[in-house]
């Protein structure tokens, strides 16, 4: 970066204020993470009595017990299926829609983009109950069980990430030169050929970013999961609360389960965050 030249080195006041600010912020960010990790390794007595920064002894017992206190493996599987399917479907649908908006002129284009984006502002609570009624009625009419099933949750979640995904991919696709796909079409590719051979490969960072976002949205949603699932289809978002409704609150187990549930998402996010920043730079904030 140009400003790291010694002649243009930032002044002391800047460096010191940066040090203080970033140190405080790191503390603020890290304390809950530390509490989660350390408490998950503490014996029950440590988390039931006064808080202690250092465990009196380390134990992996909570990590064994979490699987039997509540059916965590089943919740995990449900979340994995729901979030995985919602992500794949959401990304595929967004790619097609963004390609149409980015490459074609057609009637209703603006109406489409504005409508899709404005769904972002709907309070979830407004369509929770109607959606519940629709799913029940579709079930009664066609026998397709959407309410209480993973399918219903997948459908719901994929639309949650769809507006942002389409919006971001439009920006990203716009940055892929049109000449490239027109050249491909001259060479005999159809529009879909051009999409998959030229545009999609060039927009991989944007697509990865959108996939990460879609997965996180589905993995973390609580409101619809709490109403639309039953014992068999319960996801982690609701299932995790099972530990705290018991008479004895096993905080060490709750923290262990939280950590187990978080690690796949956080690890995936941190590995792919470069793409997200690159995708946002090229797409959303351009």
């Amino acid at each position: 970066m140009p400003r790291t030249d010694s002649a243009l080195a930032p002044p002391r006041s800047f460096v010191w204020s940066r040090r203080v600010f970033l140190t405080l912020l790191t503390g603020f960010v890290l304390v809950p993470v530390y509490v989660m990790v350390s408490s998950s390794l503490k014996p029950l007595a440590d988390v039931s009595g006064k808080f202690r920064w250092l465990p009196s002894g380390l134990t992996v017992r909570p990590y064994i017990d979490i699987w039997s206190t509540v059916p965590l493996a089943r919740y995990f599987m449900n979340s994995l299926i729901v979030a995985g399917a919602a992500t794949i479907a959401s990304v595929a649908i967004a790619v097609f829609a963004a390609y149409a908006v980015s490459r074609y002129e057609f009637r209703g284009k603006r109406v489409f983009t504005v409508t899709v984006l404005s769904t972002q502002m709907f309070p979830g609570i407004l369509f929770l109950l109607p959606l519940f009624l629709i799913y029940v009625n579709i079930g009664n009419a066609t026998g397709i069980a959407l309410f209480g099933s993973r399918g219903g949750l997948i459908l719901t979640y994929l639309t949650f990430s769809l507006p942002f995904s389409i919006w971001m991919l439009i920006g990203y696709f716009d940055s892929v030169p049109r000449d490239l796909d027109e050249a491909a079409m001259v060479d005999g590719c159809g529009p879909l050929g051009a999409l998959f051979r030229i545009v999609v490969p060039a927009a991989v960072p944007g697509i990865v970013a959108v996939a990460v976002y879609a997965f996180m949205t589905a993995w973390g949603e609580v409101l619809f999961a709490s109403v639309m699932t039953n014992d068999a289809t319960r996801t982690l978002a609701v299932g995790l609360q099972g530990y705290s409704t018991l008479n004895d609150v096993y905080w060490n187990q709750i923290m262990a389960a939280s950590l187990v549930v978080s690690v796949p998402v956080v690890a995936g996010f941190l590995l792919l965050q470069r793409y997200l920043v690159a995708g946002l730079t090229a797409g959303a904030v351009k």
Binding site: I93, P123, L128, P130
Partner: protein
């Protein structure tokens, strides 16, 4: 937003189309293809967002209590009855809604301001390379990457009266309070909620501002440095003005997300939120599912949507006017 867009003429004369005439080959396929590509997205948006919204609006005019849930179509019409109940601020229902509304507005403004401030400051401080920058950036994104419920559950543990970290530090270690405080009930719960919301929300602002900073041309800084502008001046004169378009969207998105946030208060307090932290979406959820009065709940949701529409419209009007004035 939606309504104004729908009234606009559909025919678009876009500059892109006018600039270069398209090849004539496969014209019919070209006309149909974009719609075909949009179809899945369109159907799903209809099924999950638009149709439910319309049904929600219809429901708000019905007397939809638990007796009619099985067959909601047969519920009697109540005209504006649900709305009258919701905005009758002298009666308990309306009074509670108004209170919840003010709590939500206060909470949202504070949370958005803090998230924006911390996120922007962190992004600007981390614009230059220094040792440990990559690690710090990854670390700062952790609160955002954590699933909401695991993050909030951890805070619930920290806010516990007897065995939580917060009371241990404030009371036992720093002796700031006479006795351990309650954080998840009573007046303190507002601050607890705000803390969790900011902790969870600021990295998003950080992420967006960081991305926005990369689009500012380096030459601007170099020119400013040659002209003798110090780093603080560069931040004030170049960075912040260049971020304005990014901030316009960022602040709006943060506002809408925070205002509509259900997950954080729901996991933090459970179904019964304390009065001082009674956010509107949980309030409506309770009004609907705890009392089983979906008509009133729907009316409240519609009022909430109207409020957000107005705020968004006014906001966009003012910010884009401001931007145009600044550009001119």
């Amino acid at each position: 937003m939606t309504t104004t867009a729908l009234k606009e003429p559909v025919r678009e004369t876009s500059p892109g189309a006018a600039r270069e005439p398209r090849p004539r080959t496969g014209r019919i396929r070209r006309i149909g293809l974009p719609y075909l590509l949009l179809l899945p997205a369109l159907l799903l948006e209809l099924l999950v967002h638009l149709v439910p919204m319309v049904i929600g609006i219809v429901m708000s005019f019905k007397e939809l209590t638990q007796f009619y849930i099985r067959d909601w179509g047969t519920a009697p019409w109540s005209g504006l009855g649900n709305y009258k109940v919701s905005v009758d601020f002298d009666a308990p229902v309306g009074e509670a809604l108004l209170h919840s509304f003010f709590v939500t507005v206060g909470f949202t403004l504070l949370s958005v301001a803090l998230c924006w401030l911390i996120g922007t400051a962190a992004a600007i401080y981390m614009q230059d390379t220094f040792r440990g920058r990559g690690l710090l950036r990854a670390l700062f994104l952790v609160p955002y990457a954590l699933p909401v419920y695991t993050a909030v559950i951890t805070w619930v543990f920290m806010f516990q009266h007897d065995n939580g970290l917060v009371n241990h530090v404030l009371h036992d270690q720093l002796h700031l309070t006479d006795r351990p405080s309650f954080w998840l009930i009573g007046d303190n719960s507002f601050y607890a909620l705000l803390t969790v919301s900011v902790w969870k929300g600021w990295p998003f602002a950080f992420l967006i501002v960081m991305a926005g900073l990369q689009n500012i041309p380096k030459e601007l800084y170099e020119a400013a440095a040659l002209d003798g502008a110090g780093i603080w001046q560069q931040v004030r004169r170049i960075t912040l003005p260049s971020l304005r378009p990014v901030n316009q969207v960022l602040v709006l998105v943060l506002f809408l997300w925070t205002f509509n946030d259900f997950n954080t208060p729901y996991v933090l307090f459970g179904k019964a939120a304390p009065e001082s932290a009674d956010l509107i979406s949980v309030h409506i959820y309770q009004a609907s599912f705890v009392t089983w009065n979906f008509g009133t709940g729907s009316a409240m949701s519609v009022l909430l949507l109207l409020f957000l529409l107005v705020v968004t419209g006014v906001y966009l009007l003012f910010t884009s006017r401001g931007r145009r004035a600044a550009d001119a």
